[in-house]
Symmetry: C3
Subunit: 430 residues, 3 copies
């Protein structure tokens, strides 16, 4: 192993993780307090009731972040520990950092007052990191990922402030500010970290039967709870109902087209698990921006219908081209699940704004800003992550848990067994 | 492979799936709109509050449909992709079709006004299909399953209208209209599709260790959220609480008897995963019809107690007889989980109605109608599905994902390896 | 097999399980009824609204009990059926018994009036048993476990009554009454059941790659829903919000330190799945007692920070010492996840009470009572469980599902295959 690959995390990781946590605790001590919810809010509801109305939606979003994203990425045969484990690590760090980065734009008496609404937004901010994580999955060290988490959420919070507060654009389900942003940020990072050695693939960059089933746990939880994701921060009541309904039907239509195209593009008409795990979700991404608009259930279904088609075609035809022609090695295909559907969602928002007489220029600026800042921010972040001191894995150890995790011996023994048959018995009995 | 088995889905499936989706979008454009929830409803609650009260229950039901049913059927060693994947496909199609079929009986100003209540009912309507799917699991093509979904939900909506609106029978937790209906519909289909070639079993019709654990994910989520299933459409407040409590205790009692009988019927007193995965849920089915009645917690427990016994005995003794004597090949044993406990629930409803002075004739008619229409509808649907143009798999490819899915090579290699030992090394290294 | 190991459950288990269930049904018939929620409660909410406010939190707790604890224990390579299956069995029995044992201290007109609040508490009471189950995992028969369930919940309900009603101590998230109690009870049981034959480990007492992923399902669901666990029985409104926020941040800080210490204590800086599966949760345990106190988000994070460190060090250094020096064989390391963090939580509660001018003596008495009664109760229970008539497994069959479960043949064949290579082909084809 060349000296540039010092993948032993024993000092680097604990020092960085604990330093970050201490820094965050100090900042929380200075800035963060509980929101007082004893007063009365909108809709004649006490804010107390509002807590009970939002809390189940928060938990749905929470499940999407920790189970959904975490297990969706367990499809790789030997990278499940990292997928679900690092996902938990990044999200736990990210939500704390997100409270600070988002909250600093909205101080009350110098304080960030936390309530369930702010917790939902903190979870949201981690989603961008987890999307980008999908692009670089298997090719980065946990130290690199901590750095990406801090930088990406900082930049995300700036772009979100620009889109929502300055441009006053609509993006209820965050097609632009989370999905497109997270995807293009991650694609920029993975482009900067381009590995020529992986050009011809890697033996571990694939699934096994049960890893595909673990991934479906992630898929299905994301799919089910997406209506909560797209409605949680909509205006309470009617707007939330509309966001729930639009997302429910967009996702349902998307499942049909994802299955249809998956079968269509395979010679023998067989379905591909990669498509089903991912493209069935594109309808949730694409309906995000106009989730709470009166586009009609059929309008939402049209968006999902198109998203499922685009996403599946993307996995089949575009991802290989991005890798071979542009050097963009997108492990999970986040461009197909979050990138293109996110842009589609932004464009649907532009059209919907134009039709309903709202400012479509601001929606356009929001989309351009989200994609542009993501690419620039991702490139800068990528160059920082590329410094040869963060312990990134050498090519041959990519997509392999065992470089950063203690992995049960069975794995290796089974491998030995497959390779050396007759010797395995002793080892197992030993 | 004989020419009658044209299992290549490349044209059939995409054409059917996309045509159905386009048809549905058009019908949605004509008929479906958002419900206006800005007014005030019962119990002094704004309907806005009602949205927040029902939405968490909707999500629980949603989890039962997509995770619960999907993973419950992953117990087969090589049919997990189809179980959870087709489950998602059928449910996504079914809930759209369910909105239309159920809504056409209740138009307001020519429109179906969607709210969370209607979404719960749409999810419910798919449950019938997923129960029937369990009976034919492993033996049908995705095209056949799409056809079954459309036909079964159409017939289900008619029967439900008959039971609830015309007979005015009580069936809060849908023991009759969903569980018994779905089971006997599926049994009729599988009877018509009888395969003599599977009379002596099939090597893939069994579980492996980890597939049984995946199935337990389905079992436990169904078990936990069943109180939501049985109470979601009960009258808000006290009735819902009673339905929650009755289901909670019925299921708990059922677990004890399912474990007890599972041990009792095995020579060495060992538990059987098939029983634990399924019979522990029978208490939720059986308490459905009278879920919101004042039967007392102990009454609910008695129902669950009996359901667990009947269901486990059914798996042990009845399923083999149905297969060998009547030609009913019931892959998941839906007769034991949904059929008999559903009828038990219907009968408990008759008794409870008689005791409380309600019309037990109408309850009896509802039960007879649900079973009768299911059998007739299932038989007709079975004959349509039997047409040799829908790509059903030949016997030897039953219970095998690889006929309709791209399956990771490892699976096949492992098989090769097991069969040919010494040759496998090269293939894996290749 | 010596005659003292009569592990055939065929009569013992069904008779005990069914007798207990019948006894419980009779007691329910006498004592248990539905709560009437048609009146009006605190906060100007109808109790009807209170049902809808609490029900989602109940379901979160329910998921923690049945999925969380159940799958957390599936990390063992050949004990997944027992982990998730017996977890379900014990919880289903325990919640019925818990309703009775807790309710008998609070009768209204001679009745236990069940509502969602009481269901949450019933689920809570089972948590103590499931924690203790973790200590003896793999070494007890289902009959022994039923006995432990009945005895432990009875003793738990007495201690809880003492702590909450007589000492009037605060323990909202139950660091003392559930976590410390369940841990020290289980440790006392496993000490009494000490097996010298397991002193040098057991070949099945370890994980395989996918069993560690199944366990992460449990971990993540516990982690996500812990805010509901710690807030469910807090005073509605502001106090619940504070408990949610404190738990959310304590757990997040804990993840960072658990990962950091896991890396620090391993020679090559690699993470250990045992730590990630367990120590990431210690922050939820430790913040329990003062969950609803105004300790500030940073205060909660400090507690989580320390809990993650203590717990990980415990797994690395303390568990081996407890086993070798004190004869305490703690399969899941519940001392590290529930014991020490529970005591830490109790001590944090003492400090917080002292600072805020509440009675720290009563908090101290509550902690001492919880640990003391647990150890005495656990020891007595252990001696009862040790009677040689309950069918405990011999040492060589510990940590192995196949002694109490029918296990798919593949498992054994794969074993045969590994051991005898060339013979396996015939068996598989047979």
């Amino acid at each position: 192993m060349p000296s540039s690959y010092q993948t032993n995390m024993r000092l680097k990781f604990p020092i960085l993780a604990i330093s970050l946590e201490i820094l965050i605790i100090i900042l929380f001590g200075v800035f963060v307090t509980y929101k007082d919810i004893s007063g009365t809010g909108s809709h004649g509801n006490s804010t107390d009731n509002r807590f009970h109305a939002l809390y189940p939606m928060f938990q749905d979003v929470h499940v999407m972040i920790f189970i959904g994203f975490g297990f969706l990425m367990t499809f790789l045969k030997r990278y499940g520990f990292s997928s679900v484990g690092f996902n938990m690590l990044l999200a736990a760090l990210g939500l704390q950092w997100g409270i600070l980065m988002q909250g600093l734009w909205h101080l009350h008496n110098g304080k960030i007052e936390v309530d369930v609404y702010k917790m939902i937004n903190a979870d949201f901010s981690t989603a961008t990191v987890l999307i980008s994580f999908g692009a670089v999955l298997g090719k980065t060290s946990p130290v690199q990922l901590l750095i990406m988490t801090i930088l990406e959420i900082t930049i995300f919070a700036m772009n979100e402030h620009l889109v929502v507060e300055i441009l006053e654009a609509t993006d209820t389900g965050a097609s632009m500010t989370i999905h497109a942003f997270g995807a293009y940020f991650g694609l920029a990072v993975t482009r900067v970290l381009y590995r020529p050695g992986l050009k011809n693939g890697h033996e571990n960059e694939g699934s096994v039967y049960h890893s595909d089933l673990f991934a479906m746990i992630g898929t299905v939880f994301l799919w089910m709870f997406w209506p909560s994701f797209n409605s949680a921060i909509a205006a309470e009541g009617q707007d939330q109902l509309i966001a729930v309904i639009n997302t429910y039907f967009s996702l349902s239509a998307c499942v049909l087209t994802a299955f249809a195209i998956s079968s269509l593009v395979q010679e023998k008409g067989k379905f591909d698990m990669v498509h089903i795990q991912n493209a069935t979700l594109a309808g949730g991404v694409a309906v995000g921006t106009c989730a709470d608009m009166h586009i009609g259930p059929y309008g939402a279904m049209l968006i999902g219908f198109v998203a499922g088609i685009i996403s599946t075609f993307g996995f089949k035809f575009l991802t290989p081209i991005l890798a071979s022609k542009l050097g963009i090695q997108d492990t999970c295909g986040v461009h197909n699940l979050h990138g293109m559907p996110g842009v589609l969602g932004g464009m649907a928002g532009i059209v919907a704004a134009a039709i309903t007489g709202r400012s479509f220029q601001m929606q356009s600026a929001a989309l351009a800003s989200s994609v542009g800042i993501a690419i620039i921010g991702g490139a800068i972040t990528g160059f920082i992550m590329k410094l040869p001191i963060w312990g990134q894995p050498p090519d041959q150890n990519c997509f392999d848990d065992s470089i950063y995790w203690e992995v049960p011996e069975e794995g290796e023994e089974e491998e030995n067994h497959l390779a050396h048959g007759e010797h395995s018995t002793n080892k197992i009995e030993a």
